[in-house]
């Protein structure tokens, strides 16, 4: 602390001051300083460090007694992280960011001391944190990773990527105002540079961090770069490729040419090997995701065809047939289906009275939720339990939920204070339940007695079913009596009211021919799903669809790819009050974002063709006619 008491005379109009602090216990220079506190919020100081670029520190400490600074000043200190690549002597300038003025005492001359070399695995040490938001200037994230972007971009969000169990790590860079002209990740190679006349082949996994356009692609270039202090010089391009939302493995050849006699090489082969970096440049995209380079390529698949491109196209086509045709298509020409985690036979054997848990995410919406809970209670059987997930609702709803569910073993209430969004809530529901069958149910529904039995009957009727959904008044292609209005918008069949749920079910019981048609996608308002589906294809995708809007279609498509069937219980009715959970502008944005992610995730899927298949379903057309007839007698 003695070093703090420095006899300094600050100018009267100074906004802050800075000085170097040498401590015998800590090798190298620590910089200490003060700055006048901002009117609101934390005060930030910009440091321009020679060899490290611009960094920001927050001045948040009260000045200790005996330090000669103004009373409303805040103190800060800065030390380079031990691995920072600094010259032995470097200049540091400090600026108050509110006034843009340089602090008194700046620039400060600092000394860096090389610590012991800590060998970290590739991208194994993140001195500035594993995730954060940084400015657009070139910056060091780890000793073997720098990132930067075109300076017009406002800011960049970075996250370390670390898949479970994998030894490989990477980084996800997302511009906060996409698309940006250029985002670059500079990676130190994990292997030695090839000697003159030799070549190295390495592999990079690169993809886009977010979908901002339909079927989006971006130009990606791999460059050889030379590091020069805090900046990089791009030497030559090694490879160009198009990258997508899905990861692509790029195979890159790095060959060092033989030096021509009498000619100075570009300083590639003979210069300091440490100064060679690989630059991954993505142009006009939302950012980039890249994993550390590796010499091991993707596992070789036994080739079924001579031309690997032909094989890839055939695989894409086969997937398309699976998606658009019958889910369980077993054709000798098609590649065999992956074996499900638990064969259906076992699901069938367990079937007789399967225990089912209902996941009911709730976010506000008082009366409709109460009606839903009461109808569930009234339709309750021994083999059903309801998990209510309160996604941080207002206290009125939270109180109602508590009153409705308290003391009733039929309900479990998972009340959470923070709102996490629809998709995260249902995934949380999946992690909180264990039953082999779950129903993901919207909270603006009314179920008639016997609804779940009917869904299970449909599952039994069509072997191989992984997901099943009932009919409703407002559930896109599962709506009765009309799916669409004459003008082409989705019908909500307003003649059916909440109180009609039971009587419509009775009419449907008479009218249904129990064809249990197979659909390529189900509406997400009420879906019975086998846990085998989640074991096989994973949970709902909360990264791509955080707020809903597309997550159920995504799961349906993934389930069909894995060979599960999607069945409509055309003798079951669940009332759905099409409620509005987000404002119109917000919904438009979310729907758009969801559609983009869907189109990028399922490149082969033609939503129009899938809809046409659902529209052309004959048993449903006949049923709609009969129901239209019968529903006239309603009330």
């Amino acid at each position: 602390m003695s070093a703090l008491v420095q006899a300094s005379i600050w100018r009267a109009e100074a906004v802050g001051g800075i000085w170097a602090n040498e401590d015998e216990n800590l090798p190298g220079t620590t910089v200490l300083g003060w700055v006048l506190a901002a009117a609101t919020g934390p005060t930030e100081v910009g440091l321009d460090i020679q060899g490290l670029g611009v960094q920001t520190v927050v001045a948040d400490r009260e000045p200790p007694a005996g330090v000669d600074v103004p009373p409303d000043a805040r103190m800060f200190s800065w030390r380079p992280p031990p691995e920072a690549s600094l010259p032995t002597e470097y200049a540091l300038r400090a600026f108050d960011l509110d006034s843009g003025r340089e602090l008194d005492g700046s620039p400060v001359l600092c000394r860096a001391v090389r610590g012991p070399v800590i060998t970290a695995p590739p991208l194994g040490r993140w001195p500035h944190g594993l995730a954060g938001v940084i400015g657009s200037a070139d910056r060091e994230l780890t000793p073997d990773l720098w990132v930067g972007t075109a300076s017009s971009a406002r800011a960049l969000r970075f996250e370390a990527l670390a898949p479970v169990g994998g030894q490989r790590r990477g980084v996800r860079l997302l511009a906060l105002a996409p698309p940006v002209p250029r985002v670059v990740a500079y990676l130190a190679p994990t292997f030695t540079a090839p000697a003159a006349g030799e070549r190295v082949t390495f592999f990079l996994d690169v993809w886009l961090p977010q979908a901002t356009g339909p079927n989006q692609q971006a130009q990606c270039e791999i460059w050889l770069a030379r590091r020069d202090g805090g900046s990089f010089v791009l030497l030559r391009r090694l490879r160009r490729a198009r990258i997508f939302r899905r990861p692509s493995t790029l195979q890159v050849e790095w060959a060092t040419p033989e030096p021509e006699p009498g000619q100075e090489t570009a300083g590639e082969a003979d210069a300091d090997k440490d100064s060679h970096w690989l630059a991954v440049v993505v142009r006009d995209g939302p950012g980039l995701c890249v994993m550390a380079p590796t010499l091991d390529g993707p596992p070789e698949q036994p080739a079924r065809m001579e031309d690997s491109r032909l094989e890839a196209s055939f695989a894409a086509l086969a997937e398309l047939v699976r998606l658009h045709g019958t889910a369980t298509e077993q054709h000798p020409l098609l590649p065999p289906l992956p074996a499900p985690a638990r064969p259906w036979a076992q699901v069938q054997a367990d079937y007789t009275h399967p225990f089912t848990e209902i996941i009911l995410p709730v976010y506000n919406g008082n009366t409709s939720v109460r009606d839903c809970l009461r109808s569930l209670r009234a339709a309750a059987t021994d083999h059903v339990r309801v998990l209510v997930i309160d996604d941080g609702s207002r206290s009125l709803t939270a109180e109602m939920l508590r009153a409705e569910t308290d003391g009733d073993p039929f309900f479990r209430l998972h009340h959470r204070v923070t709102n996490r969004g629809y998709t995260k809530s249902i995934n949380e529901g999946l992690a909180l339940t264990t039953a082999d069958w779950v129903v993901v149910l919207n909270s603006d529904t009314i179920v008639p007695p016997g609804w779940l039995e009917r869904l299970h009957t449909a599952v039994r009727a069509r072997p191989g079913t992984g997901m099943a959904g009932p009919l409703s008044n407002a559930a896109t292609w599962q709506s009765i009596p009309a799916a669409k209005r004459p003008d082409g918008t989705w019908s909500t069949n307003d003649m059916i009211e909440p109180r009609h749920a039971t009587s419509v079910q009775a009419l449907l019981t008479e009218a249904s021919e129990r064809a249990y048609p197979e659909f390529p996608a189900l509406n997400g308002f009420c879906t019975l799903i086998a846990r085998a589906v989640f074991d096989e294809v994973g949970p709902y995708d909360e990264d791509a669809f955080p707020m809903g809007y597309g997550e159920e279609t995504d799961l349906c498509l993934r389930a069909r790819r894995a060979g599960f069937r999607l069945t409509v219980a055309d003798d079951a009715f669940v009332f759905h009050e099409k409620s509005v959970s987000f404002g119109s502008a917000n919904r438009r944005r979310l729907t758009r974002a969801g559609n983009l992610e869907l189109s990028n995730k399922h490149l082969g899927a033609n939503i129009g063709a899938l809809e046409a298949a659902m529209a052309a379903c004959e048993p449903m057309q006949r049923l709609r006619l009969r129901m239209a007839e019968r529903l006239r007698e309603l009330d």
Binding site: A39, R125, G135, A160, F355, A398, L432, T434, E542, R592
Partner: protein, 647 residues
């Protein structure tokens, strides 16, 4: 009332269709178009279409075409509502869901004529009427000149082409080498990375500069008397210069730049080193978008009077327009603080510095402009950009708040401010039960091994193996956002050796009140497929320990709930950071675990009504040590067993 309407689709950036009311067959309907519930325009369905007439839709004059804003033409699906505006409000005629073709611009323009050695035309982007397009002249497939279409023309304004400032002119005399007569001169507009052809014109033979009489000679020849008189009374050059200057200024004020240029060129032939003439010529050339001439003359003027501010400003503007930021920064730096252009210098130099990536200097310029005028919007916006690019969101937020206060109608800025506020608002990290529930800041490598001696991985989290000689491997893994838009928090992948391993999370003294009232916590964990793994959650306070819950992990990711409720004695130790949550895994095995998260306050749960039977079943199951897994197919009991252990 029986309106019929049809939407044919989107053609060339406009929604096309027809609307007709059979009950009022001659009425032209007044339509309101809404896209995604936002009104985007009104239009009267009165266009004649022969196909309508053929199909007996009234007299056929019921078609309409409504231009769509660029932001809905994004290639996505949009809901379109066509409504009739009548005295009784809006009456929906038709709704449709259309996939809009993707468009990034709505460029219109024309190459009009070549006259007096100048190529004239206009171009604008209807989607961005406030911006000037850049146009290029193309000869034989190669761009040879570039200018911006920003000249004001009254005829464009009256024709409804935006504000009228969309004309462009190319001076064919300065092209070198000059194209052969008859060469087609093409013009194209640049929008982003696209080029849009606007058409071409052949270069007429007369426009060759050699064929034209020297305009200056014509001018001087017309005034032989005045020139002769001046030569007698005063030094000729000075007299000429004053007169020419006045005339040129007058022409400039009339916005007759071509005339002003002719006058000045004539003067400069006589007095090539006259500062004022050079400067004026440069200014006129800039007004004519002839950047090359402007730069040449401004440089010459600056050579005569080094450091003079006016040509410096001109050169700086020219460099900014060209996108030569390094030069612009140098020129702007010479504008002193007492000059009237100082504010322009601060803002424009700041922008150029920003483009060069010299962020701190840029911020200094913008802050200087703010000191001149605290309500300066450009300065506030520039300071926001600079602060955000530096990586100082709190400062950016303060600067943007000033901008939003000065420009309350800018919705994009308001949204950006919201985003910044969300980013800078402290998430309730300070009051989470754990000191570090996010694992974002590691003091050591994010992958490694620990022995019996605790290894600290972040300041508040450590781990160790429980048996001497065995090593516990760990790695940060599986980032996930806790809430949408948050920075991700990280989980831990552990390879637990024989004898077990322990994770220690220090509890947060700031959350003392909550912890004394009780908190429902959840732990999310998963074991590898091969082995099952038992995890004990233990509260350690000083040297004391008590078990909170024991769970058997499964191969699928699950959440386990338990209550965390500190006693008074424990709360005392909490203040000294002597309380911690321990996760003890029995080995060997691999598991994935996330730091425990709070779910809700324990006290927010009302006291449960007596539930004798259920409680007995629950206790019984727990006494048997039955994990949820074995109770899986047993129906109602299962639900009870996995129900919260909270009472």
């Amino acid at each position: 009332m029986s309106g019929t309407a049809r939407i044919d689709g989107v053609f060339d950036g406009a929604l096309v269709g027809w609307a007709w009311d059979t009950a009022r067959q001659t009425t032209r309907l007044h339509l309101v178009v809404q896209v995604d519930n936002i009104e985007i325009g009104e239009v009267i369905a009165d266009r004649f279409r022969s196909d309508l007439q053929r199909n007996r839709i009234g007299d056929g004059a019921h078609g309409f075409s409504c231009p769509l804003p660029i932001d809905v033409q994004d290639g996505g699906l949009h809901d379109i509502v066509l409504a009739e505006a009548s005295d009784f409000g809006l009456r929906t005629l038709i709704t449709a869901r259309l996939e809009m073709p993707l468009r990034t611009h709505l460029v219109q323009g024309k190459v009009e004529r070549v006259s007096q050695g100048m190529l004239h035309g206009w171009a604008w982007d209807r989607a961005r009427p406030g911006q000037a397009l850049t146009v290029e002249m193309v000869v034989a497939g190669e761009a040879i000149a570039r200018t911006s279409a920003s000249r004001f023309r009254r005829d464009l304004l009256t024709a409804g082409i935006g504000s009228g400032a969309h004309g462009f002119v190319f001076d064919l005399n300065v092209l070198s080498p000059s194209p052969m007569p008859g060469t087609p001169l093409g013009v194209r507009a640049l929008v982003g990375s696209d080029c849009i052809d606007l058409g071409n014109l052949p270069l007429p033979a007369v426009s060759s500069p050699a064929a034209l009489p020297d305009p200056a000679a014509v001018l001087l020849a017309a005034q032989p008397f005045a020139a002769a008189k001046s030569s007698r009374s005063a030094p000729r050059a000075i007299f000429d210069a004053a007169k020419i200057k006045t005339e040129a200024r007058e022409a400039e004020q009339r916005r007759d730049f071509a005339q002003a240029a002719t006058i000045l060129d004539a003067g400069l032939r006589r007095a090539p080193n006259e500062f004022d003439l050079l400067f004026l010529r440069a200014r006129v050339a800039l007004a004519m978008n002839d950047t090359e001439t402007a730069t040449r003359h401004a440089r010459a003027a600056l050579k005569i009077r080094p450091g003079h501010v006016q040509p410096t400003v001109l050169l700086a503007r020219l460099a900014s327009n060209r996108g030569d930021h390094a030069e612009a920064v140098e020129h702007w730096a010479h504008v002193p603080s007492d000059h009237e252009r100082y504010r322009e210098r601060l803002v424009k130099r700041g922008r150029s510095l920003l483009a060069l990536g010299r962020l701190l200097e840029a911020l200094g310029e913008f802050c200087g402009a703010t000191r001149l005028n605290p309500a300066d919007r450009d300065a506030a916006l520039g300071a926001t950009d600079a602060a955000e690019a530096i990586g100082a969101p709190h400062t950016a937020r303060r600067h943007l708040a000033r901008y939003v206060a000065a420009a309350p109608t800018d919705e994009a800025a308001a949204l950006r401010l919201q985003d910044l506020i969300q980013r800078t608002t402290v998430t309730p990290e300070a009051t989470t039960p754990l000191r570090d529930p996010w694992l974002r800041h590691w003091t050591s490598h994010i992958v490694g091994e620990a022995e019996v001696e605790p290894r600290r991985i972040t300041p508040w989290v450590s781990l160790r193996s429980l048996r001497l000689g065995e090593r516990l491997s760990f790695a940060a893994a599986a980032p996930r956002e806790w809430r949408p838009g948050d920075l991700p928090s990280y989980g831990l992948w552990l390879s637990v050796p024989e004898g077990g391993g322990e994770l220690r999370f220090v509890l947060n003294p700031a959350a003392g009140t909550d912890l004394c009232r009780g908190v429902v916590m959840g732990i999310t964990a998963q074991a590898s497929a091969e082995q099952q793994c038992i995890l004990r959650v233990v509260l350690a306070s000083g040297d004391d320990e008590r078990d909170l819950t024991t769970v058997r992990l499964t191969a699928s990711l699950r959440i386990y709930r338990y209550a965390l409720h500190l006693t008074a004695a424990e709360a005392e130790l909490l203040a000294f950071e002597q309380c911690a949550l321990l996760l003890r895994a029995a080995g060997p095995g691999e598991l994935m675990v996330y730091p425990p998260q709070p779910i809700c306050a324990l006290s927010s749960r009302p006291v449960r009504r007596a539930r004798m039977e259920a409680a007995a079943v629950e206790d019984g199951l727990r006494a048997l040590g039955l994990g949820s897994d074995r109770a899986r197919h047993t129906g109602p009991e299962q639900a009870l067993a996995s129900a919260d252990a909270v009472r």
